[in-house]
């Protein structure tokens, strides 16, 4: 045991919680844990003390591949020019019901 051990040897996990049945898991934060099992326990204690969820995912942060967050990034360009993917692209007369 030494005081000068590497600052924090426990890897970082990202935590996702399903608030209730029928909803997606949503990212709620992160934590450090030695392994997956401990990460789940800690996630329960840290992020669901008040029944905030019915299911938890923990994922090693190092396992996540992310796009650049910049909105102007070309990565998002393919959807930027495909407005026809959105329902509002299609004008429908006001008197047509239920659409």
């Amino acid at each position: 045991m030494s005081d000068s051990a590497p600052a924090d040897e426990w890897p970082l996990f990202e935590v996702f919680v399903r608030g209730k049945r029928g909803l997606n898991h949503v990212h709620v934060g992160s934590l450090h844990a030695p392994d997956e099992e401990m990460a789940l326990h800690s996630a329960r204690n840290l992020y669901t003390r008040r029944n905030e969820g019915v299911s938890i995912w923990v994922v090693r942060a190092s396992a996540i591949t992310a796009s650049s967050p910049d909105e102007k990034d070309p990565f998002f360009a393919p959807s930027g020019d495909k407005v026809y993917r959105h329902p509002t692209f299609y004008p429908i007369p006001d008197d047509v019901p239920h659409i």
């Binding site: 045991m1 600052a7 924090d8 099992e37 008040r50 967050p69």
Partner: protein, 326 residues
């Protein structure tokens, strides 16, 4: 859009980055961890979030002192839940700080070496169980005043941590106030105890908002960056205005002869805060500074074997497939 060589497009200039950042702040958009940000913005946030996290962690101690002496099982369970929440607040905040590229273990090290500060309020002792109630009412109340505007902080992870914290703080304040209501309905000795606790905690609570605006040179920049939403004096005034009717309902007197409603201002006037005391306590001269930090250090060092054992277990079982031997 004009055609430019790819290499030029790939590497935005410092000016472009600053312009993008400023535009995002001006549009009240959130800054996320992987966005470019000015170094001053990052370091200010790291300092503020770390100090906030340390306060939550050290803040467990004054009330923790009463866990084994709570007067009933009900109060003990409530206090345990509250103290556990504060640990959680500290962890949400350390996690938010880590998104800025710092390391939680390093921040803890800086705390126990006295290189980073925490709120001066936690350097006062909790002398009676009424202190537990008054901390919930006033100290958590002041924290709520400070934290609600931070839910709109320009830095996404900090704002999201604050939303979570604020939801839990209202339980903290209400349990404290209810505890005091019950004591005020008790014996004369209990009522005296409550008043005594109010007398001791009122002024330190006002100091929680930090030095007066005139002595807070960084406020301007922090507000421009959306890191701070209100000035120290604005928040202090808000807290006083909120607390006065609560004190009346409770039947206690706030220890300030100058406290009076000012119809013209639409606010309460109040007496001068003893800033010399504040400076003394912040710089280590409070009653409990040494005790708080050494307790934190002891907890950290005594927990080392647990962290090491868990890491060793994880290393041993790595690659064997999860749960192979269970």
């Amino acid at each position: 859009m004009a055609m430019e060589p790819a290499a030029v497009r790939d590497r935005p200039t410092g000016q472009e980055l600053t312009a993008d950042f400023d535009a995002r702040i001006a549009a009240h958009q959130r800054i996320e961890p992987r966005d470019w940000m000015p170094e001053g913005y990052r370091s200010t946030l790291v300092r503020q979030i770390a100090q906030h996290a340390h306060s939550e962690i050290i803040g467990m101690q004054p009330e923790g002192d009463w866990l084994t002496r709570a007067p009933s099982l009900r109060r003990k369970a409530i206090l345990l839940a509250k103290v556990q929440d504060e640990a959680g607040h500290g962890l949400y905040l350390y996690a938010a700080a880590e998104t800025l590229g710092v390391d939680r273990a390093d921040l803890t090290q800086r705390l126990i070496e006295g290189r980073q500060k925490y709120s001066s309020i936690f350097n006062y002792p909790t002398l009676t169980f009424a202190d537990v109630g008054v901390i919930g009412w006033l100290v958590d109340g002041a924290a709520i005043c400070n934290q609600v505007p931070l839910c709109r902080s320009s830095f996404g992870p900090y704002a999201r941590a604050m939303v979570r914290v604020c939801k839990e703080e209202s339980f903290h304040q209400r349990q404290g106030y209810e505890l005091l209501l019950q004591m005020m309905a008790g014996t004369p000795a209990q009522r005296t105890m409550v008043q005594d606790a109010v007398d001791r905690w009122w002024w330190p609570s006002l100091m929680m908002f930090g030095p007066p605006d005139a002595d807070s040179p960084n406020t301007r920049q922090s507000m421009a960056w959306g890191i701070k939403r209100d000035t120290n004096d604005e928040l202090r005034q808000k807290f006083v205005d909120m607390s006065v009717p609560q004190a009346v309902a409770l039947g206690v007197t706030l220890p300030d002869p100058d406290l009076a409603w000012n119809a013209e201002r639409g606010h309460h006037d109040f007496g001068a805060v003893d800033w010399a005391e504040f400076k003394r306590v912040v710089s280590g001269g409070g009653q409990c500074n040494a005790e708080r930090v050494s307790r934190r250090r002891a907890a950290h060092e005594e927990g080392a074997w647990v962290r090491e054992a868990a890491a060793a277990y994880a290393a041993k079982h790595q690659g064997t497939g999860q749960g192979d031997d269970r």
